[in-house]
């Protein structure tokens, strides 16, 4: 974990409202599923840093995580991301990271199934490149197809579902998942809350282990403000629940450990 001032290498529009941001960083010891907190403005409004998953390590050879920088992929949804989108190469941003636990490596022999929706694809790029497997990509329309650009991984297969049917199967990505749930499978999911909830329940019902990467509003990113709490269920038979921090205990959780009712 470091707090550094990083130079912007590039900040290119991929499609209307979608950007990829290259940030210089000498020694990013980043793992698939890690995120960073970015200071998008020097001013006091917006005040808090914004969390973004690491898309990939720049200049990394093969699957090694050493490199010269990191690339983020973000969508403009509010003030912070809008300010970010106006930044130009050469400007400097504060990065705090890498943060979080990251995805646990799949046990040998298990078949990896990744489920994503929208920007949920970000943290799975690194995972896919290491594990390969099946990527179930959910989008609203085929306009979001570019999010798949450059995805690769040992024997990686991609299946797509769009809500409007303009690419792949018409409907939700969870429909694709249905067909993949079988013994010997481990699921990794990132995307909107509703999707994660559904994925988690489906996996639970099928007895398949599933890791979800959650998002919560964050202030510190390092487990001290206690702001990003989600309730977790203890599997000790007792009604013993307590709060886990998405930033430091997560953002990746075993789907069964989350009290989805409260989210």
């Amino acid at each position: 974990m470091q707090s550094i001032e990083s130079k912007i290498l590039y900040n290119d529009m991929l499609a209307e409202g979608y950007f990829r941001l290259g940030l210089e960083w000498k020694t990013p010891r980043v793992k698939a599923g890690h995120f960073v907190m970015l200071r998008v403005s020097d001013g006091m409004d917006p005040l808090l840093r914004r969390p973004f998953g690491v898309y990939k390590v720049i200049g990394a050879k093969g699957s090694a995580s050493k490199g010269t920088g990191i690339e983020l992929l973000y969508r403009v949804v509010g003030r912070g991301t809008s300010i970010l989108s106006a930044k130009r190469p050469g400007e400097v941003l504060g990065i705090l990271g890498p943060l979080g636990n990251g995805f646990p490596s799949p046990r040998k022999g298990l078949k990896v199934v990744m489920v994503t929706g929208g920007m949920g694809i970000v943290p799975l790029y690194m995972l896919a490149s290491q594990t390969g497997g099946i990527l179930l990509f959910g989008a609203r329309t085929k306009k979001e197809r570019f999010l798949l650009d450059g995805f690769k991984g040992p024997g990686l297969k991609v299946k797509t579902a769009t809500e409007d049917g303009s690419m792949g199967t018409k409907g939700l990505v969870t429909a694709l998942l249905e067909k993949e749930l079988a013994a010997g499978v481990v699921v990794y999911a990132c995307g909107p809350l509703g999707m994660l909830k559904a994925v988690s329940r489906m996996c639970s019902d099928a007895g398949v282990r599933c890791f979800v990467s959650l998002e919560r509003s964050m202030a510190c990113g390092i487990g001290v403000c206690l702001g990003c709490a989600v309730r977790s269920v203890n599997h000790d038979g007792k009604e013993n629940r307590n709060y886990k921090m998405v930033c430091s205990d997560g953002p990746v959780f075993d789907g069964e450990d989350i009290d989805w009712e409260l989210l």
């Binding site: 707090s3 409004d45 964050m218 202030a219 510190c220 487990g223 001290v224 403000c225 702001g227 309730r231």
Partner: protein, 313 residues
């Protein structure tokens, strides 16, 4: 324009003494914004701080409130953590040892829902090695008294501080709530009860509504407002408190840099605490200390002499 208050600077111009404790500089971290201290070691040199004030401790561990617990506001944030903490026993056993050998003061922030709770926590911390003082958070509802807040009623404040005074020989800092009409009354109550210092301000109560869902953003409806938005209110209250206080004051509320800290010192504080700023820059508190040192040199003034040096027209 910045005439030096004194020509000759003492040897340790940053050092301040509060409640008999010597702090290497007047910069502390605010409770609830710096964890139990060790979490910040990767990012900042915690030995450069005057003191670390840890997350509020209760008699038993507390789970805190359901989420969402935080929301950003213009130049600030609301929090409704619900005082989640490991409890005083676990603090002493597991968290405090992580700071062993770290050469800075640790101040334990404590709270309770009844006066007995407060007393018991204070007793447990009494004489614990590595804890230099207790900071009493009185911004909590007294469950026995039907939920009225200790910190907005001078009589209740007096009762809880007096009771703690009797439960411990440790230096006591009473942390005041800004949600009152006249802060001076609260200062007097805490002093009469035997506090060794006053700290202020805790958060202002606020609310943000999601207009699409027509629900409060926070699960608890209201939360505590912190950050630069509240600084003018905090500086004003510290200044008012300083008019009547006989004990030293520790000022806080929206301090982002040394300039902000100086406002509090000049208004009458002997030390400051940096809160929300540590979320935005984990090195913020140390940077404040560095900035104070620069100001001290430039103006040839010690922190002690700066305290309350405000000139009125």
């Amino acid at each position: 324009m910045g005439t030096p208050l004194k020509k000759k600077l003492p040897k340790k111009p940053l050092e301040v003494t509060i409640a008999g404790i010597k702090f290497r500089n007047p910069v502390m971290t605010a409770s609830g914004t710096f964890g139990y201290g060790a979490e910040f070691a990767p990012f900042t040199d915690i030995e450069k701080l005057g003191a670390i004030v840890v997350k509020g401790l209760s008699l038993y561990p507390r789970q805190g409130n359901p989420g969402p617990r935080i929301v950003e506001t213009p130049c600030g944030m609301l929090n409704a953590i619900g005082l989640q903490n490991v409890g005083v026993d676990d603090f002493i056993e597991k968290k405090l040892p992580l700071l062993k050998g770290v050469r800075t003061h640790v101040i334990a922030n404590i709270f309770g829902e009844t006066i007995e709770d407060y007393m018991e926590v204070a007793r447990k911390l009494d004489g614990v090695k590595g804890v230099s003082a207790l900071e009493i958070n009185i911004s909590c509802p007294n469950v026995k008294k039907g939920g009225i807040v200790f910190g907005t009623d001078p009589q209740e404040a007096f009762r809880v501080v007096s009771a703690i005074r009797k439960s411990t020989s440790m230096p006591l800092i009473t942390k005041l709530s800004p949600n009152v009409a006249d802060i001076r009354v609260m200062v007097k109550a805490a002093e009469d009860a035997g506090t060794d210092a006053i700290s202020l301000i805790n958060t202002l109560t606020g609310m943000v509504i999601d207009v699409e869902k027509r629900r409060p953003v926070l699960a608890t409806a209201t939360g505590g407002l912190s950050g630069p938005a509240i600084r003018p209110v905090a500086v004003r209250m510290v200044w008012q408190a300083a008019q009547v206080a006989k004990v030293p004051i520790i000022g806080m509320g929206g301090i982002m840099n040394a300039n902000d800290a100086l406002e509090f010192l000049i208004a009458g504080a002997s030390a400051v605490q940096v809160g929300t700023a540590s979320f935005i820059d984990p090195d913020a508190a140390v940077k404040v200390a560095v900035g104070l040192e620069e100001y001290s040199k430039k103006h040839s003034v010690s922190m002690k002499d700066l305290t309350g040096s405000l000139k009125l027209a």
